[in-house]
């Protein structure tokens, strides 16, 4: 039998793909961001590697907000949230399931953003693709840990999208800075001396927010 967090993830992905909007909107929003920033330099000039990395992670962050809003609002239409809360399982499974689904959707969006960065921002010196993927997965883990927690927190608020963005961005600063620094290295800028330190920052961030989310989620989502 499929573990319940994976069953939750599979259900969410099925719902998102059946509807389409849950993945198309984040991808389009990110692409628009990349395209608009590509207009910020004169014709013939490329955006710096650091700026390109910043735009990539900004697009990812905006996409993440839409993704988690979609994932958590799907439990509201017929109050299936109550059903999940009554199911005989730790409440944290919901957080894990949503985080996994969000991670998959975010990765899919990034698979579109990466070539867009190359094409629109002139970044053609991408090195060490396996390392790039590893870096993306590492930062994504931190993003979805926070995103899944705050997605749950924002449910029930009429202005949930704006609330989510207001709360989420200050929290994401450390992991975004790390992502930008690592990204700029992989896009051919810098010597990579600080790479180890930034990986340490991301690992610490991931451990902290994963632990905090597991601890806080029942208080945030468990109270009906």
């Amino acid at each position: 039998m499929t573990p319940r967090p994976l069953a939750l993830m599979a259900k969410d992905l099925r719902l998102v793909f059946a509807d389409g909007a849950g993945i198309v909107q984040p991808v389009l929003l990110g692409l628009i961001l990349v395209f608009v920033f590509s207009l910020s330099t004169p014709v013939g000039h490329d955006v710096s590697a650091q700026a390109a990395a910043a735009i990539f992670w900004l697009a990812t962050s905006f996409a993440m907000i839409l993704v988690f809003n979609t994932l958590y609002s799907s439990e509201g239409s017929n109050q299936s949230r109550i059903g999940l809360l009554l199911a005989p399982m730790p409440i944290q499974y919901i957080w894990i399931g949503k985080a996994l689904a969000g991670g998959v959707l975010l990765l899919m969006a990034q698979l579109v953003f990466l070539p867009a960065i190359v094409v629109f921002l002139g970044q053609d010196e991408v090195t060490a693709w396996p390392m790039v993927l590893g870096c993306i997965l590492l930062v994504d883990w931190g993003l979805v840990a926070v995103g899944s927690l705050l997605g749950a927190m924002s449910q029930g608020h009429s202005a949930r999208d704006s609330l989510l963005s207001v709360v989420i961005f200050p929290l994401l600063i450390p992991v975004l800075l790390a992502g930008i620094s690592m990204g700029s290295y992989f896009l051919g800028d810098g010597s990579g001396e600080d790479l180890g330190s930034w990986i340490g920052v991301v690992l610490a961030f991931n451990a902290l927010f994963t632990g905090a989310a597991l601890l806080l989620f029942p208080f945030i989502y468990g109270e009906y």
Binding site: M1, K11, L15, A18, S80, I82, P88, Y224
Partner: protein
């Protein structure tokens, strides 16, 4: 919610009171629900029936008082106004998902039988978005029956159902009762549902106005009418 110690009593409430902020919903509700009994929960709109059911299921904690349950959560089922149905999934996929959440190994044939029982086998591959309110409620009933619960919490379960579906619901309630399950049943159709119940809890004026045998409640009703 605490574990109960008396195996014959599935649910016990002791002086349960609840506030929403500083507004009192009800106070000092005490009751025992023995195995195999049906308790009708009635009262005017706003009396706190749904809130009390949520407290009984453990969904919300009472402001004061204790709730003792002898039934593990996997043997508890709730059917309320909301159907818990995902509109983007088919009827079969919805059932399969909830079976997974309860770690139930259900074959395709078993799920088909459940859908046939509630008259939805012919629609099982259709998107639940296309279901009428009554069909959605029947799918929700299939979910509840699938759990084979020891205790049912039914909050106006016949909402949106036609006469045939309501009869099917009564039959299934009767079957569940015969195998020893207990039911807490919120109803607005007292005349229609009273005969199904062993006991009645009537909430009025923020308190337990009546709790006792159905026959006694009928007497009280008669007195009120005269």
């Amino acid at each position: 919610m605490h574990e109960n110690i008396n195996p014959d009593v599935l649910l016990e409430l002791d002086r349960v009171s609840h506030f929403f902020d500083d507004r009192l919903v009800f106070k000092n509700i005490s009751l025992k629900l023995p195995r195999g009994e049906v308790m009708l929960l009635a009262g005017p709109n706003g009396a706190g029936k749904t809130t009390l059911v949520h407290i009984m299921t453990g969904l919300i904690s009472p402001t004061s008082g204790t709730v003792l349950s002898g039934v593990p959560s996997e043997k508890t089922a709730y059917l309320g106004h909301h159907t818990f149905i995902y509109p983007g999934l088919s009827g079969l996929e919805n059932l399969r998902f909830w079976a997974g959440m309860y770690r139930l190994h259900k074959s395709l044939e078993e799920l088909e039988d459940l859908l046939a029982l509630v008259g939805l086998k012919g629609f099982m591959h259709e998107n639940a978005r296309t279901f009428s309110r009554g069909m959605a409620q029947r799918l929700s009933l299939a979910r509840v029956l699938m759990l084979q619960p020891d205790i049912f919490f039914l909050d106006e379960p016949a909402t949106g159902m036609d006469a045939q579906s309501r009869q099917m619901l009564r039959n299934e309630i009767s079957k569940a009762r015969h195998r020893g399950a207990s039911l807490v049943w919120v109803s607005h159709s007292l005349q229609e549902d009273l005969d199904q119940a062993d006991k009645v809890l009537y909430l009025e004026n923020k308190k337990q106005a009546f709790f006792g045998l159905t026959s006694d409640f009928k007497d009280v009703l008669q007195e009120r009418l005269h």
